[in-house]
């Protein structure tokens, strides 16, 4: 890791540790889970150039699987989260296989449609998923018999999992694999001409990204003791894309910042309206028109310019 990245990581971890003290712990938990979720989308969109509009399938698929595992077998949550991650990857493999047959805007539509299909299936499969009631009263066990039912305790117990997820994403984008992915984003035919089986790279990226989304969703669902259809709704897929675009695509950190900003905003709005989409929708429209670079690239430019100008600014 580069030194500047290590410093950033240290700052990020300190911030994450302090988060439940600054905000309330339920909001802090929401922020770290959605941050990892947004990072998983960025991995695919910012590096692979694939806009998945169906990542709710993996966030929700993982979340439901983890919640069911934790509840049915009274499993410690790290194991349930691992199970949720695996289920999400198992879902991502066939969906990704089909979706990468189309590119660009079609890819977005296809992923969106498959996520909606999963939404209907989970809704109909009431015996297992509880239909519209969802999976309720999911236990939060750290070890068999040792419960971390307070949200603040759970937050610190789950934070390492989220950090591991983030490090994995970092590792993936800075590996040779990640570089091939970027080359596919830039020019797929050229990457093919260089001898890369691009579809294989895209599929692996899709499955890895789905796994990270599943990890995030599992932590989120168990942390809330609840898996509901909201996890799988298409607005969830859209919200996470909004976070990534707001933060700046292809930066990983930006996605985390974007997630934090959107959630803080929604938290403020929720005290006086349940129709926060009026604000978040308008923001997305404004970003796409005026601010396509996103926050992180803009900020890091600013920092760089300030640092390099003599005497600072």
């Amino acid at each position: 890791m580069k030194r500047s990245h290590l410093i950033l990581l240290a700052v990020g971890i300190v911030l994450a540790l302090a988060l439940p003290r600054i905000l309330y712990s339920a909001l802090a938990l929401r922020i770290i889970s959605w941050a990892l979720f947004a990072v998983s989308v960025d991995l695919l969109l910012g590096y692979g150039g694939m806009l998945s509009f169906g990542h709710a399938a993996f966030w929700g698929g993982g979340g439901y699987a983890a919640a069911l595992l934790a509840k049915t077998f009274q499993l410690p949550f790290p194991i349930a989260v691992l199970g949720g991650t695996i289920v999400a990857m198992a879902l991502a493999a066939p969906i990704g296989y089909l979706a990468i047959r189309r590119r660009g805007i079609y890819f977005a539509m296809v992923t969106l449609a498959f996520a909606q299909m999963l939404f209907y299936l989970v809704n109909e499969w009431r015996d297992v998923t509880g239909g519209e009631n969802g999976v309720q009263a999911v236990p939060k066990l750290l070890l068999p018999g040792l419960s971390v039912s307070r949200t603040a305790d759970f937050y610190y117990a789950a934070l390492p999992l989220v950090v591991v997820g983030f490090l994995l994403a970092y590792r993936i984008v800075h590996s040779p694999f990640g570089h091939v992915l970027v080359s596919i984003r830039e020019n797929e035919s050229r990457a093919q001409a260089l001898g890369y089986a691009t579809w294989r790279y895209k599929l692996v990226a899709f499955v890895l990204s789905g796994g990270l989304a599943g990890l995030a969703g599992s932590v989120f669902a168990i942390g809330n003791s609840f898996a509901s259809l909201d996890l799988l709704h298409w607005t969830t897929s859209g919200s996470v894309v909004l976070m990534t675009v707001l933060g700046g695509m292809g930066t990983l950190w930006g996605s985390a910042v974007g997630a934090a900003i959107v959630l803080l905003l929604e938290d403020q709005l929720s005290s006086f309206t349940d129709a926060s989409g009026v604000v978040t929708g308008a923001i997305l429209v404004a970003i796409v028109i005026f601010f396509r670079r996103g926050l992180w690239p803009t900020l890091s430019d600013l920092v760089r310019r300030t640092a390099s100008s003599p005497g600072g600014a």
């Binding site: 590119r103 449609a113 859209g238 796409v288």
Partner: protein, 291 residues
């Protein structure tokens, strides 16, 4: 399984297909000319239904005039969106306009929710079509038959205009060779606004048709738009006839699926999409180039 029940199911499928066809037709036209996949199509469909509802509530204007006025009004709103927002994105990756229209969708939906609440509002059937028609084996609501016939007529008319008239020729030329069309002295930008407004008006028309059958509510277009995307992937966005055919096909197939298990009615359209992606990724009527 008796034949009467079967034919009712088939007609229901055609009714659903009529809505898919009108919506995917609008999507295909907009995509053809602008390379924009309009996520907000479902929201404009909902606005069409609300326009009809408000015309009746506020001004006492009944269904038939509303069938004309509501699409015009919503189409005008679409033209404003195109001029103010979408216009700025044409030189960019289509993903940006997709994101923009997604933002627009949640904005419109939640704005309507703030104003009208989540509860659906009933809209009366037009008096002339409130009865049922005997089809030999069974009787079927006259209004639903009207929906099938009317949307088919609209689809055929649109197809005719685009494929067989001078107007359509200009639109197709602007689609395929924008620069060349400009060089021939045709104001392409003006056509683009008009075409977008027309596509939106088709969505609003579907909304007005839906109002007497389904409750008028802010979320009525929210799931429909995703199903329509699946339909569009099945048909291939490149062709007008393909969009319409895939719409009716999806509607029929979903009803037939419901014979075996009502739970899979929604899922079956997506399953068909998966099959199409496997065997013919460009869509039933799509050209490979568009893939």
């Amino acid at each position: 399984m008796d034949l009467g029940y079967l034919s009712v199911l088939l007609f229901n499928g055609l009714v659903n297909g009529a809505f898919y066809a009108l919506l995917s037709l609008g999507l295909a036209i907009i995509f053809g000319v602008m390379r924009v996949v309009n996520f907000a199509h479902g929201a404009f469909y909902m606005l069409g239904a609300f326009a009809a509802y408000l015309l009746l509530q506020q001004a006492g204007i009944p269904f038939w005039p509303a069938l004309l006025i509501a699409p015009l009004a919503v189409g005008l709103g679409g033209a404003v969106c195109e001029r103010l927002l979408l216009r700025r994105l044409y030189t960019l990756d289509p993903l940006y306009s997709f994101l923009l229209t997604f933002g627009l969708t949640i904005f419109i939906q939640d704005a309507m929710r703030l104003r009208f609440g989540i509860q659906g509002q009933p809209y009366p059937l037009p008096g002339e079509l409130a009865s049922s028609v005997s089809l030999g084996l069974v009787s079927y609501p006259a209004y639903r038959l009207f929906v099938i016939a009317f949307s088919l007529a609209v689809c055929v008319a649109v197809w005719y205009v685009i494929e067989r008239t001078r107007l359509g020729m200009v639109v197709r030329a602007a689609t395929e060779r924008t620069e060349l069309t400009r060089a021939l002295g045709i104001d392409v930008d003006r056509w683009i606004t008009g075409v977008f407004a027309f596509g939106i008006a088709l969505a609003a028309l579907a909304g007005v048709l839906a109002a007497p059958m389904r409750n008028v509510s802010p979320l009525m277009g929210s799931e429909l738009i995703i199903l329509t995307f699946a339909v569009v992937v099945i048909g291939g966005l490149g062709s007008i006839a393909g969009a319409v055919a895939a719409g009716f096909l999806a509607g029929l197939l979903a009803s037939v699926g419901a014979i075996f298990d009502p739970a899979i009615e929604n899922v079956i359209v997506f399953a068909l999409m998966a099959v199409i992606l496997l065997v013919r990724p460009a869509g039933l009527f799509g050209s490979q180039e568009a893939a």
